[in-house]
């Protein structure tokens, strides 16, 4: 059992996009605020802060979750992937990011990190999604600019691209 007292800061060590990092958090600090304000990883956006809009979605141990419904202390020793972690190792756009860029699947970009991290996890479970399945998954993400059609198109293209690479690697 470990007790974290209120109004005191506690050291949290975890993996952020593959690198071990350390930050300090009070028990009531949300993961979303911890990432942005303490760690300085501002790619994760904060919208409604009670689990409705999906903008703050990150991956925790590989699964897409709401960072605003998770406490910073809960990620101790765990693996967190944010939008920053979806870029290629050289820092250029990753496959999913590129597909969104090329299909005009973002306008203001506020919701985009949540869509990308959600898709990154979902394509690992279902590499060949249909439009209907994608729309169902994206019911947990709100976008007020694009009307979703471009997002669906980009997601289908990203899935195809990833499949192509997978089959090339198998050969």
């Amino acid at each position: 059992m470990k007790l974290f007292k209120q109004s005191a800061k506690h050291s949290i060590k975890f993996f952020l996009n593959g690198n071990q990092v350390e930050g300090f958090a009070e028990p009531n600090l949300l993961l979303s605020d911890f990432l942005r304000k303490e760690i300085g990883a501002t790619g994760t956006h904060v919208g409604c802060e009670h689990g409705i809009c999906g903008a703050c979605t990150v991956k925790l141990d590989g699964e897409a979750i709401r960072a605003c419904l998770c406490l910073a202390i809960q990620v101790e020793g765990r693996d967190v992937v944010t939008i920053e972690g979806l870029a290629d190792t050289e820092g250029s756009l990753g496959i999913i990011q590129k597909a969104f860029h090329e299909n005009f699947a973002l306008q203001c970009g506020f919701c985009t990190p949540g869509f990308l991290t959600t898709l990154d996890h979902y394509l690992k479970i279902n590499p060949t999604p249909t439009e209907k399945e994608l729309r169902e998954v994206y019911s947990g993400n709100m976008c007020r600019c694009t009307g979703y059609d471009e997002i669906i198109r980009a997601s289908l293209e990203a899935a195809n691209e990833l499949l192509k690479i997978k089959t090339l690697n198998l050969k």
Binding site: M1, L3, E26, L29, L30, H50, G51, A64, C68, S139
Partner: protein, 285 residues
Amino acid sequence: MAKKDSELKKMKPAPFDLCVAQSVKEVVSLLKQNKGDAKILAGGQSLMAMLNMRLVKPNLVIDISRIKDLDYIKITKEFVEIGATFTQSKLENWPKLQEIFPIIASVLPHVGHFQTRNRGTVCGSVCHSDPSSELPLLLALLNGEVVLSSTSGTRIISAKDFQTGMLSTACETHEFVTAIRFPIMAKKYGHAFIEIARRHGDYAIVALAAIATKDSIKLGVGGVADIPSILELKPGDLSNLSDALNTFAWSLDANDDIHASAKYRREIVRRLGESTLRKACNEII
């Protein structure tokens, strides 16, 4: 990079001590010590939102998500038991779900969203006891049970006795839910589920679930009254279904809220209640 302390102080939840528990024993002794001033955090998909909106301000939050003994699903002759940290997405992906509980399989996609199911637990949804959430409705419809643990041991109560009102349950302050049980139905049954919500995955304005065997038919309704309501019928009642549904709709203590009026909710029960029941019955004919 790191911002000033004053900015970090603007936190959504009110301050609390956080205890990361490793065993059920630790949790029950903490609950006993803290006499009602503690909240259990499993997946946090309801509690964290309540904390963020400061609707609850506990002095102590006990995180049970790292207790490995509670992350299980087991199947016996009588029931399927689900541990307190078993997530909704794990249940969704449980290989036997479709075969044993096709009704749960058809309802789970309506429970929150992909991202909230990855973290939200089955037991947590039942504990939160929101009038419009789907899992408490199913537990009531299928005559499920809730396993509660405290320093003096465990007790098992029926879903009907567990859900006492809107966001309130029979769980005492010194105990917590360690598992829930869905009884396995002996006979083959037909099932149906229909939900009216503003957006897929939102809380239901009205949720209707029905199961039917050759000699009994049940309709469960969520989102209308403070707790799930169940209508039990015999196959003979099907000839006069609209009267039965009308009486049932009037018997519900329906609520008005920002999403819909009580009148509208009762009308949904009358109209969609009939199609839900008929769909479930048609599956066994």
